[in-house]
């Protein structure tokens, strides 16, 4: 019954705001004309008016200013001492949008694969792509969430589904009462995007690079769809293009008239999203991660607007030394620096709004804003981040964001400047209607009161005729004491509600036995009421305030020293990060070393090498020392070219395999280079200077690959090896036919080596026909092109087409002879050469054929017996291939082994007597040739890049230790500097731990130990669904 009543009331109430909904019962017509006077009004981040007046009429601001006339029909509210701010706007939420459940994970131990979804409606083939979702159709006000948002000062939010990759269009809604129809202020404001596939049960994409490829292809498809529809209208005499509501919904975004809000998980992913925006000319706003301070310069260069969370982390648990051991310097620095993120963004002149999204249960949004202000953010920017900037993001600047005439009457009334710690929000106003947050004390009870007691019945006088009541403390929670006859008693249970006051006191020492209770009313400086003593006698009391309350300056607060982050940000901002790249040494000479040139000069003993401006100038004996040269004494040392790893999986973010489909040539490792991976530094410690970052081997045609130079401290784009030919991963055999994936994985084509051949052939053929189609279309006149549906741009086939035209080169994971021959013959049939067979443990069986075809071979030195297809492997493989004049290298497929590729190369001497210098080429010149970068690296020859390593002994020996690693004439690793850096890591960590221990709340940090992140060590076979969860 109660529920029904409530429903009826809501309906009645709602009818007042509705324009098309028929009213049930009487019509609501309460006027809304209010004048708020005497307040400090912060009109905008720039304008502040003291003792000003705000006039509201029918939900809008009619006027604002000092000394303005108050309309006769207005209700006047004296708000002396309060502060009025424009209502805050939350630009990123899914308020009122139904939440989707997390989808299932694909994995070895997960359930069966889900390659497809049930198709309903003319939607996208991938369940994570639903740009057609409209918040305006889904929005349902949520009373609880609304109250919470208002409690933090929000009056308006932008809301959209936060599920999936293309998430749908947002709406901007206010947090007042009413029907959705009334609350929605703006629709189709932005397409929301992310890299996370959320509730989609479909396996693809299972990696970050897969998400990126899916976004890219979807945008191309949307472009095609637009064009196809137009052409079809002009000329219906052609095959009708498909109907697709999802692609149609992207019209605004791709044509640049609409905007997107792209949510990212870290600073590198922000840059990744920005690359997509740049590629497609999208107008993107980034929902950032709180890590932006780590890479400020490139983020500043985007000139974009960010939505910044205030998700400052809890201090990590460092309660015990072993707990501390699991907390990284990066974790500690982030804890120490995160609150400075907004301030640093301001200094970098980045435009941003705040969001409460990402705060933990129990976090107070405003407290986080205040923390950011203490840590360097200006109050003006803070306010802009809460009002004007989000108003612009939401497309409502004309009606919200400031307190100007004509705008919506959305504002906050607070007890104080909102950024001061003691400020309390009293009310939040939305469209002229007030919502109470914290009750504003109606009267000021504080001060010194002289209280006189009189008997109710004249016959019984009170034992004490007079006392003094002193009320102090906070206005919302005052404290009191009673002074009489040199005795002081603290009063208990003092409360002031509206104008009513009540309190009690232990009166024994004041001649009032027992607990005396008082209640009464305050009228300005007078008060009166009734009292009851412990013995049950009643009396009246009256009082006059003799002294107003004087607020004492809060000395304790002022002394609170703000401690800024202890250590400067380095790149990457963790252990062994650098402030800047190592200096380019203009001229250096290494004297008296054994130099393994891996070039025509062979091995030179007691030799010198001159390096100038990042290039090798000269190698030889008794070279003259150039002027101003930096000298390195190479006595007893060996110098080799930098080690090059043909097969590496380091420095890749969120997934090395896009294993959900058999052909994924659309994905690019280059999109997901993780420049912060500590393994980069560790490769340097083993003399590695270039790594070819490979897609895994989960499918016959994997992703596009990326060769990088290990320029530790740089950004992903800066690490990429300029000029290198593009490459792509293919894979054959057990992995791609899912032989060892478990019984659940028996439905993906192919499951045999026969099918592997067929699917690759099919793809080659498709790419060939695709190229033809495009050539045909491109040959049409402009007019004919306009009326002809163009071929669909397919980034999967684009990559294969490059392969067929020898503009991209295959690195093919392969083991057994049959499959090697298969790919050779297939490539020959389509008129190109396979680049390099990688792993290739049975390469020795067809070394002649490989040699004749002209492919390279990059083998494991001695791996075998880990699966059936490597049961015929032999460590003599390298030697046999080499002897058949195949360009042969050894690779790692393992971040640890990569650091010892020099030793691995030594095994070619042991197994098959490859001459030592030729063996060293297995890890230097030969991989460089395989990647077509031997013009620049791989040997120590004049004109080549100064990428070299100093070793303590013959580099092929197990006894050799890497002493220095140079790239481009810069010293990226030095065993002596490493020792110093270790000390620095320890020093910084100790200081930060001390800072955690000195914290007032929770010294020692979080109650929970830092979860173990584990070593990140991918290999070829790492298949996992990365795009779930956070």
């Amino acid at each position: 019954m109660k529920k029904l009543l409530a429903l009826v009331l809501v309906l009645l109430f709602n009818s007042a705001y509705s324009q098309t909904t028929p009213p049930l019962g009487l019509r609501e017509k309460t006027p809304n004309v209010i004048a708020i006077t005497n307040a400090t009004i912060i009109v905008s981040p720039e304008i502040r008016l003291e003792k000003a007046t705000l006039i509201i009429r029918d939900g809008l601001i009619e006027a604002v200013g000092k000394n303005i006339p108050i309309p006769k029909d207005a209700e006047v509210m004296d708000m002396k001492g309060t502060f009025i701010y424009p209502g805050f706007i939350e630009p990123f939420s899914d308020y009122g949008i139904p939440k989707a459940a997390e989808g299932s994970r694909m994995g070895f131990e997960g359930d069966r694969p889900h390659p497809t979804i049930e198709r309903i409606g003319s939607l996208h083939w991938n369940a994570a792509v639903h740009p057609e979702k409209e918040a305006v159709l889904l929005f349902k006000p949520d009373e609880k969430a609304k109250e919470k948002l208002r409690g933090q000062g929000f009056t308006v939010v932008q809301t959209a589904s936060l599920d999936g990759i293309f998430r749908g269009n947002s709406a901007v809604v206010d947090l007042g009462d009413g029907l959705p129809n009334d609350l929605i202020l703006n629709k189709d404001v932005a397409q929301f995007l992310s890299f996370q596939k959320g509730s989609s049960n479909q396996d693809y994409p299972s990696s970050l690079m897969g998400s990126i490829a899916l976004i890219r292809q979807t945008l191309y498809d949307a472009q095609w769809y637009q064009k196809a529809q137009q052409s079809y209208q002009l000329n219906p005499a052609q095959t009708k293009p498909e109907q697709n509501a999802a692609l149609a919904a992207l019209d605004n975004l791709i044509s640049g008239t609409g905007q997107g809000v792209f949510a990212v998980g870290d600073e590198l992913s922000l840059l990744r999203a920005a690359r997509i925006a740049n590629e497609f000319g999208l107008n993107l706003i980034y929902k950032a991660s709180g890590y932006e301070y780590r890479r400020l310069a490139p983020i500043q260069a985007l000139n974009a607007t960010l939505i910044v969370p205030l998700n400052f982390p809890e201090a990590p648990n460092v309660a015990t030394p072993e707990a501390e051991a699991d907390v990284s310097l990066g974790d500690l620095k982030h804890w120490d620096t995160a609150p400075e993120n907004p301030g640093r963004l301001e200094k970098a002149k980045v435009r941003f709004a705040f969001t409460a999204n990402g705060l933990k249960e129990g976090d107070n949004f405003l407290e986080k804003v205040r923390e950011a202000i203490k840590r360097g953010l200006s109050e003006k920017k803070a306010l802009a981040a809460l009002t004007t900037v989000p108003a612009e993001i939401c497309g409502v600047s004309d009606k919200l964001g400031t307190l100007e005439k004509g705008k919506m009457a959305n504002f906050i009334i607070a007890s104080d400047s909102i950024f001061s710690d003691k400020a309390k929000i009293y009310t939040v106003w939305i469209k002229g209607k007030s919502f109470e947050i914290n009750p504003k004390p109606e009267v000021e009870p504080r001060g010194t009161w002289e209280v006189t007691l009189q008997p109710v019945q004249p016959s019984v006088p009170p034992p004490l005729a007079k006392f003094t009541l002193e009320i102090s403390g906070k206005l919302e929670s005052p404290e009191g004491k009673v002074v009489a006859e040199a005795e002081t008693v603290k009063v208990s249970e003092l409360s002031v509600k509206e104008n009513k006051i009540q309190f009690s006191l232990e009166g024994d020492s004041l001649k009032m036995p027992g607990t005396a209770r008082f209640s009464g009313r305050i009228e300005k400086d007078k008060a009166s009421g009734l009292g009851t003593l412990g013995d049950g006698s009643n009396f009246k009391w009256s009082s006059i305030r003799t002294k107003p309350y004087e607020e004492k300056p809060d000395t304790a607060k002022k002394e609170e020293k703000v401690e800024m982050a202890l250590f400067e940000t380095v790149y990457p901002d963790k252990a062994f990060g650098r402030k800047s790249l190592p200096a380019l040494v203009p001229v250096a000479i290494i004297k008296n070393a054994t130099i393994w040139t891996c070039g025509p000069q062979g091995v030179l003993k007691k030799a010198d090498m001159i390096v100038r401006n990042g290039k090798i100038e000269k190698v030889g004996q008794n070279l003259a020392i150039p002027k101003n040269a930096f000298e390195i004494d190479g006595s007893g040392l060996h110098v080799s070219p930098g080690i090059i790893d043909e097969h590496s999986h380091i420095a890749i973010s969120a997934g090395v395999n896009e294993g959900a489909e058999a052909v994924t040539s659309e994905v690019r490792i280059g999109d997901v280079v993780d420049c912060d991976d500590i393994d980069i530094y560790r490769q340097l410690s083993g003399g590695v200077t270039s790594s070819h970052l490979l897609h895994g081997s989960a499918n016959p045609i994997g992703g596009q690959l990326q060769l990088i130079k290990l320029r530790w401290g740089s950004l992903p784009e800066e690490m990429k090896f300029a000029g290198a030919d593009p490459t792509i991963k293919f894979a054959l055999g057990e992995n791609v036919k899912q032989s060892n994936w478990g019984d659940a994985f028996r439905i993906r084509y192919p499951q045999t080596r026969m099918g592997v051949e067929e699917i690759i052939r099919d793809e080659f053929q498709a790419a060939k026909e695709y190229e033809k189609e495009w050539k045909k279309y491109n040959s049409y006149s402009k007019g004919k092109q306009k009326s002809t549906i163009p071929p669909r741009k397919d980034i999967e086939l684009d990559a294969i087409d490059e392969v067929l035209n020898s503009r991209r080169f295959i690195h093919c994971h392969s083991y057994v002879q049959s499959e090697i021959l298969m790919l050779i013959r297939l490539a020959e049939e389509y008129g190109f050469k396979v680049g390099t067979f990688t792993h290739i443990l049975e390469g020795y069986k067809v070394a002649g054929e490989i040699s004749k075809h002209g492919a390279g071979a990059s083998s494991f030195s001695d791996w075998w017996a880990y699966k059936f297809e490597v049961y015929e492997a032999t460590p003599y493989n390298g030697a046999l291939l080499y002897k058949q004049k195949v360009v042969t290298s050894f690779n790692s497929d393992d971040g640890e082994m990569a650091r010892r590729l020099n030793q691995e190369a030594g095994k070619a001497v042991k197994y098959g007597e490859v001459p030592e210098e030729e063996a060293l080429k297995f890890a230097t010149l030969n991989p460089a040739k395989q990647m077509h970068v031997d013009r620049w690296v791989g040997s120590l020859e004049p004109g080549k890049d100064a990428d070299f390593v100093l070793w303590s002994a013959n580099p092929l020996s197990n006894y050799a230790k890497c002493m220095q690693t140079w790239i481009d004439g810069r010293k990226y690793f030095d065993i002596a500097e490493d020792l110093k850096m270790r000390q620095e890591v320890k020093r910084q960590k100790a200081a930060l731990v001390q800072k955690v221990l000195k914290k007032k709340d929770k010294p020692g940090g979080s109650d929970k130990p830092m979860p173990w992140k584990g070593p990140k060590n991918y290999d070829c076979e790492t298949v996992y669904d990365f795009m779930r969860g956070e």
Partner: protein, 441 residues
């Protein structure tokens, strides 16, 4: 340096045999029992227990070493004399914590006998499943490793290990110690938050507790069993296969091997061993560098699974494990090197090279050699027979033409296991020869 003459000389000779014999069998004939004394002369003898003897002589008979020394050593009449001048003579290398002979191909289920169902399997015995005809051990022998401790893996109490020589017709020829120890695989004790961990944190926490309780219960129950059996007077005592397997442990006849790497795991494992007064050997010991005092005080030796490993924590020194042998040496913690874990059973052949790398990162060569010979022998309890070249020990001897610990020079030319001359051919060499034939023209 690789002895080219040697390898080239044998090619032509063996090729003809291979062509025929490959039709019948692919296995190598195990070494014949030693029938007369053999003397290796002129080599540099790395006794390991005593100083290196340049130009030394070592004599062995009936499978035992009878003399080691310099020119003073008398060669018995009728002895077979093998000139090993310019070469190095070592005791056979020992690989611990291995699955050799239990696995043929890791990802071919039918060929894998490593982990039993369930968590408590102390009675699962490695020697029962050992396959002496596996193609893998000959490739391990080829680099100087003669002896392996083979160990069931997985679960909590994984099983009982055995120590075998890598040559023999059956496990009964090859077995050196059939029941060498009980193996406890200490459960992970930290909550993991990583891309590969789908289990929620609370559930992980619960599982950790469950595992620890299961260990506690197994030790309580098996101890109760042992005490009850010892004190049983009626003669109708019922045998529990699991706890029966643990009786040698309670009797102090075999040690408890605990596979544990992380700080908390090691701490907890040592506490367990102390509580029950068991002789413990730590396997893994990634964080041993933080706990050297605890290990030393409790006399717990460490089998380092694989020093060729990446440091676990982001800011750990890049060479945390490469230098771990040196760290333990300095701290006085007994240890030996193994080469198991991430890579497979087949990787045991690289054991000597891990010792080589440890030299690059601080160890001295003599102790590096000990860490793959005498120290593993002492740790797994066979130092009365193996680990050094001393009179009375098994004649398990390896001759390399170069430094055995460097892949560049490791070149095993002779190998004897208990005096039996081992055929050093293996599948890999055979394939090499076969395909050299293909490319002759």
């Amino acid at each position: 340096m690789f002895d080219k003459r040697f390898s080239i000389a044998i090619f032509g000779f063996i090729l003809s045999i291979v062509a025929v014999s490959s039709l019948f069998a692919h296995d190598i004939v195990p070494g014949k029992k030693q029938t007369k004394a053999i003397a290796l002369t002129g080599g540099t003898i790395y006794t390991v227990s005593d100083p290196v003897i340049p130009n030394g002589t070592i004599v062995f008979d009936k499978g035992k070493i009878v003399a080691v020394g310099g020119s003073e050593v008398r060669i018995p009449a009728g002895a077979e004399v093998i000139d090993v001048s310019g070469k190095n003579v070592y005791p056979g290398l020992i690989i611990t914590n291995s699955t050799l002979g239990l696995v043929e191909i890791e990802q071919a289920r039918a060929t894998v006998d490593v982990s039993e169902v369930g968590d408590i399997n102390p009675d699962a015995r490695a020697d029962v499943a050992y396959n002496p005809d596996s193609d893998v051990p000959p490739t391990i022998r080829s680099n100087g490793v003669t002896t392996a401790q083979i160990v069931p893996q997985g679960g909590l109490l994984s099983g009982t290990s055995a120590i075998i020589n890598l040559d023999g017709w059956t496990v009964e020829d090859a077995g050196l110690v059939r029941q060498a120890g009980i193996h406890l695989n200490w459960p992970w004790m930290k909550v993991i938050k990583a891309w590969w961990m789908p289990t929620p944190e609370e559930e992980q926490q619960k599982n950790i507790g469950k595992n620890l309780k299961a260990i506690e219960k197994a030790f309580e129950d098996s101890k109760q069993y042992w005490l009850a059996k010892k004190g049983n007077q009626t003669g109708d005592f019922k045998i529990d296969a699991r706890w029966e397997a643990m009786v040698p442990l309670w009797e102090g006849k075999v040690p408890l091997y605990v596979d544990a790497g992380e700080y908390k795991q090691i701490e907890a494992a040592v506490a367990l061993a102390k509580k029950y007064n068991l002789r413990m050997i730590l396997v893994g010991g990634d964080d041993a560098w933080m706990l050297t005092d605890l290990l030393k005080a409790n006399n717990i030796p460490v089998i380092l699974k694989r020093v060729h490993s990446m440091a676990d924590r982001e800011e750990d020194d890049f060479d945390t494990y490469l230098k771990l042998p040196k760290v333990l040496l300095v701290a006085g913690v007994k240890f030996c090197l193994s080469n198991t874990g991430f890579f497979g059973h087949w990787d045991a052949r690289n054991l000597p090279f891990l010792a080589g790398t440890s030299v690059a990162y601080g160890m001295d060569k003599a102790n590096a050699l000990r860490s793959i010979t005498l120290w593993p022998a002492e740790i797994i309890g066979i130092s009365d027979r193996m680990g050094s070249l001393e009179v009375g020990k098994d004649a398990t001897i390896v001759v390399s033409s170069g430094d055995i610990m460097d892949a560049l020079t490791n070149d095993i030319v002779y190998e004897f296991i208990q005096g039996k001359k081992v055929d050093l051919d293996d599948k890999h060499k055979r394939l090499y020869r076969k395909y050299m034939e293909k490319y002759k023209n």
